[in-house]
Symmetry: C2
Subunit: 439 residues, 2 copies
């Protein structure tokens, strides 16, 4: 059968991974896809002296620096967009789709912010747009959500979808380190960028969560509707107190269906230590999906890297080859039939249990005052602990007080926190971290 | 669009689950499938007084007791075979396929023993045969293996694929109970049958493993090639010693590619406590799949029950609706292009580390004698522990000796065990349990 010709846009870590997998697995992949998949050309920014790639098995393809040469090549059936970022990736993707080429992308920012118009364009031109590699690296989570669980009404999902952040929190947990030290390690190991904002402040995770929620709930893609809180303010003390209470702190993306709309949020989270998600350490990713029929399911694997991300790109290529005469409907933004509200809720309306830590003067009555404020706000407390006094330099001796609440609406919780911070005995801002029981 | 009409063969736990999911999710499922999916009739053994099913939303379908009426109905497009067992399920499945009807089945025994001829029949008649629900209930593991990881050469997989056995071992681990007590509980809770052989002796898991291996490696379906060892001989003492060494005992199905062929085995296994698989408790299932590109991935969820199994059946139905004009090639028995040997190896040629426990007289020199036998066989020992003497009724005082070996060929290990059992000081047969590091 005639091969399906692939144009790689980008020949970095992922692009080389894709070329390697297609080369070494060529015969098996041809059998699974029903026809050969072949890299026809790759677009790079600077070709250096190389004008062609030749792999171990002798297969070669052209290296181009002119995007037009690749996008206008009538021999190319599928464009793999692996360049990342907004432009020129967006323009290239549009041109490829409009030119009748299928597109496989690993670009989460592109899908999270322009997914709807891109899927409309693909539909219009009768081609596929696929993005398994954009979320959680090698884990086939897009396929699981949109096909494997297609009989379910998804109630919620929660995932560790940024490996850098998870590495840092895992280091803080297992070695009692502070955030800055663990970040330094992550940078030294190449897990974190020199400017780590994108990862540690949750922007990358928010892109992925917006896409997952759109698939799971049929909600419009709403990157701006994701409440995003990073992990840079997490202190070693909170990691330790959480452990004492039977929890681990993970940076989760959470999407949850409520009667009034959707909670879309990325934030540090206390997770019960007994949950599988609490044991997902290092740079690994995992997503829990809860459906009405299936209950809770979990998907775990490497969230990044040449092989894992390449694995997902190649799975998409094979799917296109298997059914290239079919134009699948977009898995995103396909609203449910029940007209349930799918707008993103404001953080004030989120509900979850909370962990709180405050430093207060070590004198009688403080705990009673704090408990009184919660009582007056109708917030149920699951646990309250007063720890040993902290040596605090010049100031008066203070004690950490730790609280775990039951589920509470965030607006109510925030008002209680303002009242607590107004107490004379409370010396520092109250630390608040959300809890997810995943039950 | 014209609905796709479904004939349910069996209206027990799973059949009712399928009917419920299709009823309550009808509108969403129609959107995802591209056309309505409707139950047209159900075949039951004894209709009692009911001749029709009417669900909450008023959708009704006929209840039949005559298989011919269902199988010969030209209005039925897809037969869901949920009756289980060998005959008449096999004959019905053949008739449905030969009659040009797609078949979705939850029958692992049928696929494990007759899968190849059934897929050939489906191919011949241009229809689909799908079986996601046959393995690990609601976990979309067939889809993950055959599509999500289709770019990979699978190196090995290991899974907890029988919930009954896992419930029993979890109870033994968390409450220090003996096998018989935990089995009694499982029976009282409805997790185990009155005759629990099929589950606790690993036959059910062997069916599933044979299918998984055939998908993963393209190997012929070879149920008889699966070495199967149950959990009924596991003692509380071994659970406790394993814990002390940092392991948990799980009943695993393991399929591993070796240069000479495939290891296909179901047996109690020591798993390092830090692995996610070690934390999969109760009736839950999980499968780890290791591919050359993606590394290790894990899939977790409920392995049985109306909703989870129904979820997988409905996912297959939606897949057929989406691409019913395509006849997918069989995901099983599709040999790899590299001509690697895919025959099942004999247990003698399996390789793994081993845990051993023996009871020996409490006198000097016994450990040295045991260690000497291993040394002479070139078996590396990772740990050897001598525990406190056991009060042993009338006989002489004995001490338990626990050993952990490094990877060893089973034939060599068995020969060493024979030599150890021949030592005068060794009073009882040596307990041997395989170890999987899952690394």
């Amino acid at each position: 059968m005639t091969p399906l010709n692939i144009g790689l846009v980008g020949l970095g870590t992922v692009g080389r991974g894709v070329a390697d997998i297609l080369g070494r697995g060529a015969a098996d992949i041809e059998r699974r896809a029903g026809r050969p998949l072949r890299v026809h050309a790759a677009l790079v920014r600077d070709a250096g002296r190389a004008t062609a790639w030749r792999d171990e098995r002798g297969h070669r393809f052209e290296i181009l620096t002119d995007a037009d040469a690749l996008l206008d090549d009538p021999d190319i059936d599928i464009v793999c967009e692996l360049a990342g970022g907004e432009e020129p990736a967006l323009g290239w993707t549009r041109r490829a789709l409009a030119g009748g080429k299928h597109v496989v992308t690993a670009n989460k920012a592109l899908i999270a912010t322009h997914g709807e118009s891109l899927f409309a364009l693909a539909q219009e031109h009768g081609v596929s747009l696929r993005f398994e590699a954009a979320i959680a690296g090698g884990i086939p989570i897009v396929k699981a959500l949109s096909e494997g669980l297609a009989g379910n009404r998804i109630e919620w999902l929660a995932g560790i979808i940024n490996g850098t952040g998870n590495y840092i929190l895992s280091e803080m947990t297992s070695h009692g380190r502070e955030f800055a030290d663990a970040l330094g390690d992550a940078q030294a190991l190449g897990y974190a960028e020199a400017d780590p904002t994108f990862d540690v402040e949750g922007i990358d995770a928010a892109h992925k969560l917006a896409i997952l929620a759109s698939i799971a709930f049929g909600a419009p893609l709403e990157f701006d509707g994701v409440m995003t809180e990073g992990i840079s303010a997490i202190e070693r003390a909170d990691v330790a107190f959480a452990a004492e209470l039977g929890y681990r702190i993970k940076h989760l993306g959470v999407a949850r269906r409520r009667a009034e709309g959707l909670e879309l949020r990325v934030h540090p989270t206390l997770v019960p230590a007994g949950r599988l998600l609490a044991s997902v350490d290092g740079v690994m990713n995992a997503v829990v999906v809860h459906g009405d029929a299936v209950g809770s399911t979990l998907y775990y694997g490497a969230g990044a890297g040449s092989g894992p991300t390449g694995s997902s790109v190649v799975a998409d290529l094979i799917d296109i080859a298997r059914g290239s005469e079919l134009v699948p409907r977009s898995p995103i933004s396909a609203p449910a039939a029940d007209n349930a509200p799918l707008g993103a809720l404001a953080p004030d309306d989120f509900r979850s249990p909370f962990y709180l830590r405050l430093e207060a003067d070590d004198r009688p009555g403080v705990m009673a005052a704090v408990a009184g404020i919660f009582g007056a706000s109708d917030i149920s407390i699951e646990a309250i602990l007063q720890k040993e006094p902290t040596a605090a330099g010049d100031g008066p001796l203070t004690v950490p007080i730790i609280l775990l609440t039951r589920e509470v609406r965030e607006r109510i919780l925030r008002e209680a926190v303002v009242a607590i911070e107004a107490l004379q005995a409370v010396r520092t801002p109250v630390v608040t971290i959300r809890v997810e029981t995943l039950g």
